[in-house]
């Protein structure tokens, strides 16, 4: 394969601004293709936007079909209902989701950076064995882990606490893998050796020489682990029973089942839809706002 050196200090996106003359004749076709894709990927979200402005009954038979706004605008009414139901339970769920995402995101990233560095730089005994176990363990589906993890956590009396969600989420083997590969490719060992020769200790070498070089990878791993935690559904579903601790994904799922349940049920489809709409906004903003940081990290060592 072609050897190209990717300087770790210059994330790919910065170099992406290079000017390359596009082939004239294909431009219209390319743009048409892109617009088609945009339409496909955006349509469901458009539906969500529209649906969140409808009242419960307009949702089912509104005036202008499901892709257009109804005559009546109920978005703020829905929002008000969302806020008052269960004393603001919904916003609590959003807050919980943010908390789970940030705490397990940061925690998992710290562990991944440390472990990735350890794997990349040191040849300790059992390194290769551990690394293979790490990759192999991902193959067993996580449904098998629910009962054992519950037993473990309930022995520690941690079920139905935030720890039951945060602690297992600290585990992110792929983050470790990612960091290892990135460090091996972008932290020159000569640099580390030089620091050691200068008398710097191992940890100091890590903190002052290696860490600054890892910024794009850290941001990326952080975002990926945060997304994983934000999307987490099954673990909190099994571990938590207190509604005040639920993340928004599980909470909305509960409302959806409440709406379809029959006995003692209550049809709150408008809240399910509006709640879903509101809950996707933070992540979209985070991604759009931070895109210049994470896009560079995604290649992580890129193509060699």
């Amino acid at each position: 394969m072609t050897i190209l050196t990717l300087s770790p200090t210059a994330p790919a996106h910065e170099r992406g601004n290079r000017t390359r003359k596009p082939h004239r004749p294909r431009r219209t076709g390319s743009h048409a293709f892109l617009l088609l894709c945009v339409a496909y990927f955006f349509l469901p979200l458009w539906w969500l936007v529209v649906a969140s402005t409808k009242s419960n009954s307009a949702l089912f038979n509104g005036a202008h079909g499901s892709l257009f706004f109804d005559d009546e605008m109920s978005f703020f009414d829905n929002l008000a209902q969302l806020t008052t139901r269960g004393d603001g339970l919904y916003w609590r769920w959003i807050g919980n989701s943010l908390f789970y995402a940030v705490s397990s995101g940061v925690g998992a990233t710290v562990l991944a950076v440390l472990a990735g560095y350890g794997f990349a730089v040191y040849h300790f005994r059992g390194r290769n064995l551990m690394f293979s176990v790490l990759l192999g363990a991902v193959m067993v589906p996580s449904t098998a882990l629910v009962i054992p993890t519950f037993v473990l956590l309930s022995n520690l009396r941690l079920t139905d606490t935030v720890w039951a969600v945060v602690l297992p989420s600290l585990l992110n083997p792929l983050g470790v893998y990612l960091m290892r590969v990135y460090i091996q490719d972008s932290v020159p060992k000569e640099l580390l050796e030089a620091a050691r020769v200068d008398g710097a200790g191992e940890l100091r070498t890590f903190a002052t020489i290696a860490l600054p070089l890892l910024k794009p990878a850290v941001v990326t791993v952080l975002l990926l682990t945060m997304v994983a935690a934000w999307n987490n559904y099954f673990l909190p579903l099994a571990m938590l029973s207190n509604p005040d601790l639920l993340p928004v994904t599980v909470g909305l799922g509960q409302w959806q089942r409440l709406s379809g349940a029959g006995a003692g049920g209550e049809q709150v489809w408008n809240l399910v839809v509006t709640g879903a709409f509101v809950s996707v906004i933070p992540l979209i903003i985070a991604f759009l706002g931070l895109q210049r940081y994470w896009r560079g990290g995604l290649t992580l060592g890129g193509v060699k």
Binding site: F60, A207, S241, N242, G262, W269
Partner: protein, 449 residues
């Protein structure tokens, strides 16, 4: 710098190992400090933790806690039906983490009781309150002489119909299933765009209830003899009922939409079906979407019969409070199960806020409930007209200790029959043999009928 980092790493390692590996030495006595959704009124009274999913339960709990100084309910909404069962199941396997009192539908009581997860409440005076419930309701929560839960609400069935549609097409309210089939035909042929009713492929308890009306008693099971079960799923009654519905479906006179989806809920109210064969909680459920069809005029009538001379009342199912084997104070938990829905005030909340159908006789037989007029039905007193008789005539039902499996397979076979993949008789024969095979695999001595 280096020292700081080293310290940080050490602390991190220590914290993680402390939390994970070594912590298990701490012997878990009482459950972790419970967090309640409700406010505890009397802080020094002992608490009983309860899982229940009805939103209206909040006020019932407050009422209970204000009225009791010897015990307080600590309520958690752990999810609707299956969500709660998933968690409860997990706690049973783990041997800890279960609440003291748990809300369960009567159909799953045997399935949990056979796992020794529930207490027999007769040792805590369950029979003292037996007189407060109808025979059928009590049988639903009993197994032999044991009682595994205290009934809360029920689902006696009736027929909710659209009077405007019936009138428009000149259909009279059917009293028998023959008349129902004729009405279905008349509506279709008269140009009605919808269908008279839906026969959902995933009706589960609903389908089972329709079979029971024609005499099906699919299971005999007694937890005192937990290794023996009698299975009779391919009886002539069930076969006749399934044939009746699949024939109507083939002629396109009834719909076969899946139940409990958003889509189905819409169709219930937007004029797609002229009839909703409903449990007593059905009306409360419809109310959530009243705006969907402003022209609708709803009325309630008794469910059609096979033999009007010998009417059989059926039940969709309801919920009950059971005490778990992990309960800390078992007697106190049983007291909560017995008393939480044991007052007129609690039931007024249940009826008005939760649209529940009470199984507690003092409320069931009260003048208040009998004379309750429902604006949704144009002021009709639907309890008096329909549901009270349905509840009184219900004789109870015995479920299997593997009811979820049996229902999943029922769905599979009804789907096959109503899509024409196999005959209705064949579907029930297959259902029977699958369930028998499963039961044998689980170690039961199976008697087939």
């Amino acid at each position: 710098m280096e020292r700081k980092l080293l310290a940080a790493v050490t602390v991190a390692v220590a914290a993680v190992t402390a939390l994970t590996g070594c912590g298990s030495s701490s012997t878990a006595g009482a459950a972790a400090k419970a967090t309640c959704t409700n406010k505890i009124v009397k802080a020094d009274a002992p608490q009983v933790t309860v899982w229940a999913w009805y939103p209206a339960f909040q006020e019932v709990v407050d009422l209970f806690n204000t009225a009791h100084s010897d015990v307080q309910i600590c309520w958690t909404n752990a999810g609707q039906g299956n969500d709660e069962y998933t968690k409860f199941s997990t706690t049973i396997e783990a041997g800890k983490g279960a609440p003291d009192v748990v809300m369960l539908e009567s159909e799953v009581l045997s399935s949990f009781a056979i796992r020794k997860a529930l207490l027999d409440l007769t040792q805590f005076g369950a029979n003292d309150v037996k007189a407060n419930y109808t025979e059928g309701a009590w049988r639903d929560v009993s197994s032999g002489s044991a009682v595994y839960a205290i009934p809360v609400d029920g689902g006696p069935m009736g027929m909710l119909y659209r009077k405007d549609i019936f009138d428009k097409y000149g259909v009279t309210v059917p009293k028998t299933w023959d008349e129902f089939a004729q009405a279905a035909k008349k509506l279709s042929e008269g140009g009605f765009k919808g269908k008279i009713a839906d026969f959902p492929t995933n009706g589960r308890a609903f389908t089972q209830a329709l079979f029971a009306q024609k005499g099906a008693t699919p299971y005999q099971f007694d937890l005192q003899k937990p290794t023996e079960v009698t299975v009779d799923l391919a009886d002539s009654g069930s076969k006749e009922v399934l044939k009746y519905w699949t024939d109507l479906a083939k002629q396109k006179h009834v719909a076969t939409d899946e139940a409990f989806t958003a889509d189905y809920n819409t169709k219930l109210v937007n004029g797609s079906y002229a009839v909703y064969l409903a449990a007593a909680w059905g009306p409360g459920y419809l109310k959530g979407l009243t705006g969907a069809d402003p022209t609708a005029i709803w009325q309630a009538a008794p469910v059609p019969q096979w033999d009007p001379a010998a009417p059989v009342q059926i039940n969709w199912g309801g919920s009950a409070f059971a005490v778990t084997a992990q309960a800390r104070d078992k007697a106190l938990s049983a007291k909560v199960a017995k008393e939480v829905f044991g007052t007129q005030e609690a039931w007024k909340i249940g009826i008005e806020k939760g649209a529940l159908f009470p199984l507690w006789k003092p409320m069931l037989e009260s003048g208040y409930y009998k004379n309750l007029a429902y604006p949704f039905f144009g002021g009709q007193k639907i309890n008096q007209d329909v549901f009270l008789a349905a509840a009184a005539g219900y004789k109870g039902f015995t479920f299997s200790p593997f009811q979820n499996f049996a229902y999943d397979k029922l769905t599979e076979q009804v789907t096959a029959a109503s899509t024409g993949k196999k005959s209705s008789d064949q579907a029930l024969d297959d259902l029977h043999s699958t369930v028998v095979k499963y039961a044998k695999g689980q170690g039961f001595t199976v008697t087939e009928k």
